[in-house]
């Protein structure tokens, strides 16, 4: 067993033992807050994590999931209970031993990235190694490898604030990967990102996970994310773990009303919409681009058709490769003549509706927002796959 947490309690602003007794005698979190002014952060949490597993802790905000994560490396000192990691009870470690243990065992990724603004991307990625006292050349090399892993080659001399949110979190991830520890603690790492970037990052993480030998504890408030990433999922409420299980158990065997409501709630809202299944367009054309540019972009990205944007990146239509080639053969230069109309989708349209739209056409479907800006594209196979998944 990689991680074994037993009967963990965390009481904020209280005596500790007294509140734990109250919890044991069945008093609720609210009762205790009212009577003693103390806040229950974690209430008798026990769980085990296997080596190499992605273990997701899920709950609404205030459910204690971030606190629970931080008890694992004692960034939050538990009031009672024990945490065993590789058969070492970390509650027995003194300050120095704990620091050494953190260097050796944990990498951590934070919700708001926690990057050092005055350090470059490379220096940020090096941070953990620097703390370990590794010499400069060696840590530079390892940090570069980590940056490569997350796809940030070429950005190493930039400062974090020059990067987008998704890229910043890649730096955070690289910093945690560079230290080469066997446990990765991830505290809602993707919650602050846009939906599309979030999806990207989840894929990136799963991709990395295939190639690295790590146990990951992942915190989220998003059931979709939990189901996508987690081998097993723990659901928390009011500081308590109300259920631990794999996807199947969580979705079909809710152990109490809270979980049932959670899952059902999410399922109900899980009528997938265009926004959920859309992709980023790999390339777009601009109205003023010529036919040759069109051909080049399509060839380069292996596309059969490409969307055209006008002024202010407003959506104009689509051109297909056949039309482009034909026009070129007739020695024409102008792109606008061959722009075609295709059905369009709104971000909130359901997959069912999309199906009827996309069934008869051979091009992707553009998703436009209220300002006619291109938010994403939908490919037929995606609609069908998701439709099939929903009807299982």
């Amino acid at each position: 067993m990689k991680i074994k947490a037993e009967n963990l309690y965390k009481i904020f602003d209280g005596k500790g033992q007294k509140e734990i007794e109250m919890l044991k005698s069945g008093k609720s979190k609210d009762d205790i807050l009212e009577k003693t002014g103390a806040t229950v952060g974690i209430n008798n949490a026990s769980f085990e994590v296997e080596e190499g597993e992605i273990f997701v802790i899920m709950g609404l905000s205030g459910s204690g999931k971030s606190t629970l994560l931080r008890t694992l490396n004692r960034l939050v000192e538990p009031t009672a209970g024990s945490v065993e990691i590789d058969n070492t009870n970390i509650m027995d470690l003194n300050k120095d031993q704990l620091r050494e243990f953190r260097k050796e065992k944990f990498g951590m990724v934070f919700q708001n990235f926690a990057l050092f603004p005055y350090r470059t991307v490379l220096e940020n990625a090096e941070f953990g190694l620097e703390i370990q006292g590794m010499d400069k050349d060696k840590r530079r090399e390892k940090a570069m490898t980590a940056l490569k892993q997350v796809g940030l080659e070429g950005y190493e001399d930039q400062k974090p604030d020059q990067l987008s949110g998704g890229m910043q979190q890649r730096v955070g991830l690289a910093r945690a990967l560079a230290v080469d520890t066997d446990i990765l603690l991830m505290d809602e790492p993707f919650s602050a990102l846009d939906p599309l970037i979030k999806k990207d990052m989840q894929d990136k993480l799963l991709d990395l996970y295939e190639h690295i030998d790590k146990t990951i504890i992942f915190i989220t408030h998003d059931l979709d994310e939990a189901l996508k990433l987690g081998d097993r999922i723990a659901i928390m409420k009011d500081g308590e773990i109300v259920q631990v299980g794999n996807h199947e158990e969580i979705l079909t065997n809710a152990e109490n009303d809270y979980v049932a409501e959670f899952v059902q709630d999410v399922n109900r809202s899980r009528v997938l919409t265009a926004e959920d299944i859309m992709d980023k367009p790999e390339a777009v054309l601009y109205q003023q681009d010529g036919l040759r540019t069109a051909l080049h972009k399509m060839r380069h990205n292996e596309l059969g058709s490409i969307f055209v944007l006008g002024k202010n990146r407003r959506y104009r239509g689509i051109v297909t490769i056949e039309d482009v080639v034909e026009s070129l053969n007739k020695d024409k230069e102008n792109l606008t003549e061959i722009i075609k109309e295709v059905p369009i989708a709104q971000p909130e349209e359901s997959v069912n509706d999309l199906f009827s739209k996309i069934a008869d056409i051979n091009t992707p479907l553009p998703v436009l927002d209220e300002n006619k800006k291109l938010k994403g594209i939908i490919v037929k196979t995606h609609v069908v796959a998701n439709l099939a998944a929903e009807n299982v």
Partner: protein
């Protein structure tokens, strides 16, 4: 009953001998700590003297060139021109020697203020008790008129540059303490948490996270410290400190408008030069 009322009235009408207490304390310190005080005094004296020797060693034009080059490196061509012209003017109006003395005392005062102030600011940011205790002391030091501590400074360190430096340090030390404290307090807690998560110890957190994060604020504190030191030039001259303050005082005594203006202009120029060189980029 009457006795009690009488004694209460007496209590309120008797003056508390606050002045006497302070006087006694100062006398006590002078009588019992003359050894350490003398050592401290000669240390300051030698720093001021050393800096002065270094500054006076090259030809003034060489020093001006060095300053201009430093300004160029720090902030660019325009400031370099300004520095060269400004200091050249000081040389021309024959205020160069007092300027060097002033510069030596300022550098010493600022060094002492920073060597004490920045660590105090760091401790203040980490220790609730130090924070509580230093708060009223800093308020006191920032608001009490400097003339009040000229006399004890004189008694401790005698007439001359050392008293001037000490009075200047008392006057100018609050901003580096306060702004170091503030800078560290403003460092994002998540950054410190990241440090702990990767196993950083206290010193690593301080030097790799807190101080770099607090740097803009600390730089502002240093700038403020320099400016306040310069504003003490004339007051320090009253207790025998040399430099540009001296001709200003003399001009006041003999009503020499021209001399006063020239020396005053020297102070303004060196203040602007130092402020632009070590101030924040705008």
């Amino acid at each position: 009953m009457v006795i009690i009322i009488n004694s209460i009235i007496e209590l309120f009408t008797t003056k508390i001998p606050l002045g006497n207490w302070v006087e006694n304390l100062v006398n006590f310190l002078i009588n019992n700590f003359s050894g350490p005080l003398n050592t401290f005094s000669s240390l300051i004296e030698s720093i001021v003297g050393g800096v002065e020797v270094v500054l006076a060693f090259p030809h003034p034009l060489v020093l001006i060139a060095i300053f201009a080059a430093a300004a160029w490196k720090l902030k660019g061509k325009r400031l370099a021109v300004f520095v060269a012209l400004g200091l050249g003017l000081v040389l021309n109006i024959e205020m160069w020697d007092p300027l060097v003395i002033t510069l030596a005392s300022i550098i010493t005062s600022v060094l002492v203020a920073l060597v004490i102030g920045i660590p105090v600011g760091i401790i203040k940011a980490h220790n609730k008790w130090v924070d509580l205790i230093t708060r009223p002391i800093l308020d006191f030091m920032q608001t009490i008129p400097p003339f009040v501590y000229l006399i004890p400074a004189l008694m401790f360190f005698g007439l001359g540059n050392v008293s001037g430096v000490i009075a200047t340090v008392v006057f100018a030390i609050a901003p580096p303490i306060r702004l170091t404290y503030l800078g560290i307090k403003q460092v994002d807690e998540e950054l410190e948490e990241a440090g702990h998560a990767f196993g950083a110890n206290w010193w690593q957190i301080l030097f790799k996270i807190e101080l770099p994060g607090a740097m803009p604020s600390i730089m502002m504190g240093i700038n403020q410290c320099i400016m306040l030191s310069l504003s003490m030039v004339v007051i320090a001259a009253m207790i025998g400190a040399g430099g540009l303050g001296k001709p200003v005082l003399r001009s006041l005594n003999v009503v020499d408008i021209g001399l006063g203006f020239e020396a005053g202009l020297g102070v303004v120029i060196i203040a602007m030069v130092l402020d632009r060189m070590f101030g924040r980029d705008s």
